[in-house]
């Protein structure tokens, strides 16, 4: 019984990889899925969502929600092309300004949460609308393109190794995932983010400066999203202020992938690699759906269902866990210490 339970736990913990594997097997029966062009499209298409996904995961681990990730990326996209095409700045400076704008917006989010004591859900929702309105005003509601200057666009979309479907954009994305993975696992900053998200009281007792750390988390989220948006815009050669408004909002992909990847909605637990695997699974599944059925409505339906299933599952698990160990699971550890008996708790 215990073995079965452990196996199920292991499967659940690694569900992101399982879902990815299942989708890849399902894709075997989809015509022209495993072509060099298609795999490269899927991987490159996952870039923006990965930047948003890791940002969202970081915030959620820290115990907060950043609903502005989508518009933060749109801002990065609009600013980088605006600075390049409209203002004529060199690419490096345009990217730097876009990332700087993301950093400022992220820091404001952090300050609203820590200093103004506004719940992150409300603060970032507000920021979402501020950024949306600002971008509409900045570009007069219209798109900005590279106006025929495709040198950097071609470079970022190029695959350095011809036999592998990995574009430079996807390699940049991998680098970001690895950086986040290492930072969250192997640095004091990462450990503090986990402690703070898991239990604010414990974090305080451990001397973690929660306000400073929270602001830093939001700033990093802003930087990452703006950088993702900027790279995405360069790869597309255009930026639109209405990205995802009529189809699948990037926020929804990031949110779904984060929850599917096993990041706890209560904070303190999460893994950017699993978020990344979930994004790959979602992108592969969307490609399968478009290939087999051709209708965008199915993509939206699939995203909605995936999110709903993940959230319902998480909620039920949390409910079951709380029912078993009470709302203070740390008491289970005390119980184990005092009695020498282990209370089986899902972590």
């Amino acid at each position: 019984m215990q073995k079965t339970s452990n196996a199920l736990d292991a499967l659940n913990r690694n569900r992101a990889y399982l879902i990815l594997a299942l989708v890849l097997i399902f894709a075997l029966f989809t015509p022209r899925f495993y072509t060099m062009f298609n795999v490269r499209s899927i991987l490159s298409g996952s870039a923006l969502y990965t930047f948003l996904g890791v940002s969202f995961t970081l915030c959620l681990i820290a115990g907060h929600m950043d609903l502005s990730v989508g518009y933060m990326a749109t801002t990065g996209a609009m600013v980088v092309l605006g600075m390049r095409t409209n203002s004529g700045l060199p690419w490096w400076l345009a990217i730097l300004i876009a990332v700087g704008v993301g950093a400022i917006a992220g820091t404001i989010n952090g300050l609203l949460v820590t200093k103004a004591k506004i719940h992150s859900f409300i603060a970032t929702l507000g920021m979402q609308f501020v950024l949306r309105g600002s971008m509409y005003m900045y570009c007069n509601g219209a798109e900005i393109s590279v106006r025929g200057e495709f040198t950097l666009t071609d470079a970022i979309n190029r695959a350095p190794l011809k036999f592998l479907p990995l574009s430079n954009l996807f390699i940049c994305t991998l680098a970001v995932v690895i950086i986040y993975l290492v930072v969250l696992r192997n640095t004091r900053f990462g450990r503090n983010v986990h402690i703070m998200g898991g239990n604010r009281e414990t974090a305080w007792l451990a001397g973690v400066k929660s306000d400073k750390l929270t602001t830093l988390v939001f700033t990093l989220s802003g930087i990452t999203c703006a950088l993702g948006g900027a790279l995405f815009a360069i790869s597309q050669g255009t930026a639109t202020p209405t990205l995802g408004e009529k189809g699948i909002p990037p926020l929804m992909v990031a949110l779904t992938a984060t929850i599917l990847g096993g990041t706890s909605m209560a904070g303190g637990k999460g893994n950017v690699l699993k978020t990344f695997a979930s994004i790959l699974a979602i992108m592969a599944m969307l490609s399968v759906l478009t290939t087999r059925y051709g209708k965008f409505e199915l993509q939206i339906l699939f995203m909605g269902l995936a999110l709903a299933v993940a959230v319902i599952y998480e909620t039920l698990r949390n409910y079951a866990r709380q029912k078993r160990v009470g709302i203070r699971p740390n008491l289970a550890d005390e119980y184990a210490r005092e009695t020498g008996k282990t209370l089986h708790i899902e972590k």
Partner: protein, 396 residues
């Protein structure tokens, strides 16, 4: 880190294992069926009709274009020359990208064309119907895909379409700015690209074999002439625009403004608003205009003859200002009914089915090895209370 490497390995191995034959490849019909295609073409363009009894695949119209002003951006907002690069987009783009494929000149029969439209709408349904009717008559298989007005989804569909390696891709770009990269991508993949319905920027023209669609600028100028006639050559006009930044935004706002400025200087622009396509929003704006401008408001120019028109007419009737002359771009049943009831003075005839038919005709001509126009316009007409009955039943 181990998991990351594992993840990459799984993906790469799966890719490597099956990339040798992951599905069926749809290819063009082989063999020389050119003569049969040409015969079919000649018969179809003469016989096929739209559901409202007009020609489904009319001949493309070529128009004269003036010399380009030295610096269009330096001209005032109500000078037609300022919009030269939009109105005459592509007419001077004779130099095509070296990646543009040569016509196979082996006939249209058996060819597969993927049509990527802009989004779901009653107009799009009629357009899709027109493309499929024309495609069937010309021996081509037509697949129509819609991204529901979403730029990211349209980009995704373009990747999907390239991956399927059809014989041609026709595209209604969602954004003129983004169109260059979209057409470039298709062309660089070695697939013939055709623009349809919505104009792009001049940059994009080099990456497509041909563009076909309505001459929105010319139609708006004709509509303006009709409006000026109804206004007696003077008055104050307010504008409700199309989506800001799109090609119809410019043609349906600055087409009439520049036409009035040049030929009817006593017709003044009172205001320009972009509330979108919701009747309630348009009604609110028109009510505000009536209060704000009073009797100075004598005409309203709409970029759409359906929700924008219903909202506008509601506001006018509620205010008892039926003297305001309303003209609208579009050709929907709502618009035609409002013309018939006398609420709208004029709308322009713009056949969705023939728009698609013209694109299908151009693509088939190219497969048949014929030279096609760089830009081919769709025939047009004005619908007034006098002739509205001859345009029923409406296409959408």
């Amino acid at each position: 880190m181990k998991r990351l490497i594992g993840l990459l390995l799984v993906f790469t191995m799966a890719f490597a294992l099956v990339s040798w034959g992951g599905g069926t490849v749809i290819t063009a019909t082989e063999g020389d069926n050119l003569a049969e295609s040409i015969a079919l073409f000649e018969e179809a363009i003469e016989s096929m009709e739209t559901t409202d009894g007009q020609l489904l695949m009319p001949a493309p119209i070529e128009k004269e274009f003036p010399d380009r002003p030295e610096d269009p951006d330096a001209l005032p907002e109500d000078d037609a020359g300022r919009y030269y690069d939009m109105e005459y987009v592509g007419w001077d783009a004779t130099e095509k990208s070296p990646d543009i494929p040569e016509s196979p000149a082996d006939g249209s029969i058996g060819k597969r064309v993927i049509v990527i439209v802009h989004g779901d709408h009653a107009w799009t349904t009629a357009y899709e119907r027109g493309f499929k009717m024309a495609g069937e008559a010309l021996g081509m298989t037509i697949d129509v895909w819609s991204p529901n007005w979403d730029q990211a989804l349209q980009d995704q569909l373009i990747d999907r379409a390239i991956n399927e390696e059809p014989d041609a891709i026709a595209l209604i770009p969602l954004s003129a700015e983004n169109a260059t990269q979209q057409f470039r991508k298709i062309t660089m993949a070695g697939i013939p690209a055709f623009g349809t319905n919505t104009l792009t920027t001049s940059d994009a023209m080099q990456y497509m074999i041909a563009w076909t669609g309505p001459d929105d600028w010319a139609q708006m100028r004709q509509l303006s002439e009709k409006m000026a006639e109804a206004l007696g050559g003077e008055g104050g006009v307010a504008y409700i625009t199309h989506n800001v930044g799109t090609s119809p935004y410019y043609s349906r706002t600055f087409g009439p403004i520049t036409q009035f400025a040049e030929h009817y200087p006593d017709i003044k622009t009172l205001d320009i608003q972009s509330p979108g396509f919701e009747a309630a929003q348009c009604k609110q704006i028109v009510s505000d205009w009536i209060s704000r401008f009073g009797d100075d408001l004598t005409g309203i120019f709409l970029a759409d003859d359906a929700p924008q028109a219903t909202g506008t007419i509601d506001a006018i009737k509620e205010a008892g200002r039926e003297d305001i002359i309303v003209v609208a771009a579009g050709n929907s049943k709502t618009g035609q009914d409002l013309v018939k009831s006398g609420d709208i003075a004029v709308i322009n005839y713009q056949s969705a089915e023939a728009d698609a038919g013209l694109s299908a005709r151009t693509i088939a001509s190219w497969f048949n090895g014929e030279t096609v126009l760089n830009v081919g316009y769709l025939m047009t007409d004005m619908i007034t209370e006098e002739n509205v009955d001859s345009f029923y039943p409406t296409q959408w």
